[in-house]
């Protein structure tokens, strides 16, 4: 029986969605950062998801020993990478700003706060859905344990 695999799948998604929330938090926090370690204003970042087989090491070893092969189609998710968004940011006229250029324009980060909020809700809903999946799994386990009572 392969019930623990589905928890591993859901956990991989929880991890991925949490990392996505980290990135969204970073975007929101830096919505006004006109300086970065490199040069110029902060650029918004975005995570890229990739589906990946998640089989706990122990189970992998057992399956290898039983030569039954891994199940196809049961894949979790992982963060494949974090990319920078290169769309241009707004320029605001503010000649007294220390980062203003010769024309008095300040280059602001390309973060759209509304967009980040929408992404944040989407990420937290996805997180909740995966928590529900783990909860359903736990309920099923409990029911299976009740058979013997």
């Amino acid at each position: 029986m392969d019930l623990t695999d589905s928890v591993a799948i859901s956990v991989s998604a929880l991890d991925a969605q949490r990392r996505r929330l980290d990135v969204i938090a970073s975007n929101l926090a830096n919505a006004q950062s006109t300086r970065t370690e490199g040069k110029g204003p902060y650029r918004r970042r975005e995570v890229v998801f990739r589906s990946t087989p998640v089989i706990p090491k122990f189970q992998k070893a057992i399956r290898h020993a039983m030569a039954s092969g891994a199940n196809k189609g049961f894949v979790g998710v992982q963060v494949a990478g974090i990319i920078e968004d290169h769309k241009p940011g707004k320029s605001v006229y503010d000649p007294h700003h220390p980062d203003a250029d010769a024309q008095g324009m300040v280059h602001m980060p390309n973060v759209n706060v509304m967009e980040e909020m929408v992404n944040m809700i989407s990420a937290s809903r996805a997180y909740e859905a995966n928590v529900q999946a783990i909860g359903a799994q736990r309920a099923m386990w409990n029911r299976a344990l009740d058979i013997g009572r």
Binding site: V75, V77, N130, Q137, A144, D146
Partner: protein, 136 residues
């Protein structure tokens, strides 16, 4: 009379397949936002129904003990279920065909069927127990 009749093996198989289906649904929910991911579904009800009615899909005549295939007793044990891609109509731009509402509905539907199967199994064991006790 056999203590563990076909009902037991049918329920056992149903629990097994429901467990696997839960895994497929979890994978769909986990990949809800993975670009290019296609939702999958584990189908087994038809195969299980025909196996429990003794049809076993295609019944093969056995003329040699080494012959394989579904036949007679144990046809239920051989039902494996099939993983297929959920037919997707218009795909969004990221090519992901997961419908989260549908998957959540499937998740609770699957868990409820699992629970009802465990209830019936537990009930059968209680029946056996009361038969054993009352015979004393």
């Amino acid at each position: 009379m056999r203590i563990f009749d076909d009902t037991m093996s049918l329920l056992e198989k149903a629990l097994d397949l429901r467990g696997s289906r839960h895994q497929v649904i979890s994978a769909n929910i986990a990949n809800e936002e993975t670009p290019g991911y296609r939702a999958k579904e584990l189908r087994f009800l038809d195969a299980l129904t025909s196996a429990s009615r003794g049809k076993g899909g295609v019944a093969l005549r056995v003329t040699d003990v080494r012959h394989l295939g579904p036949r007679g007793d144990g046809a239920i044990d051989r039902v494996g279920g099939k993983i297929t891609d959920v037919p997707a109509g218009d795909l969004p731009l990221d090519g992901n065909s997961v419908n989260l509402e549908l998957e959540m509905a499937k998740l609770s539907d699957n868990a409820m069927h699992y629970s009802s199967a465990t209830s019936i199994v537990a009930q059968r064991y209680r029946q056996l127990l009361s038969v054993i006790r009352d015979s004393r």
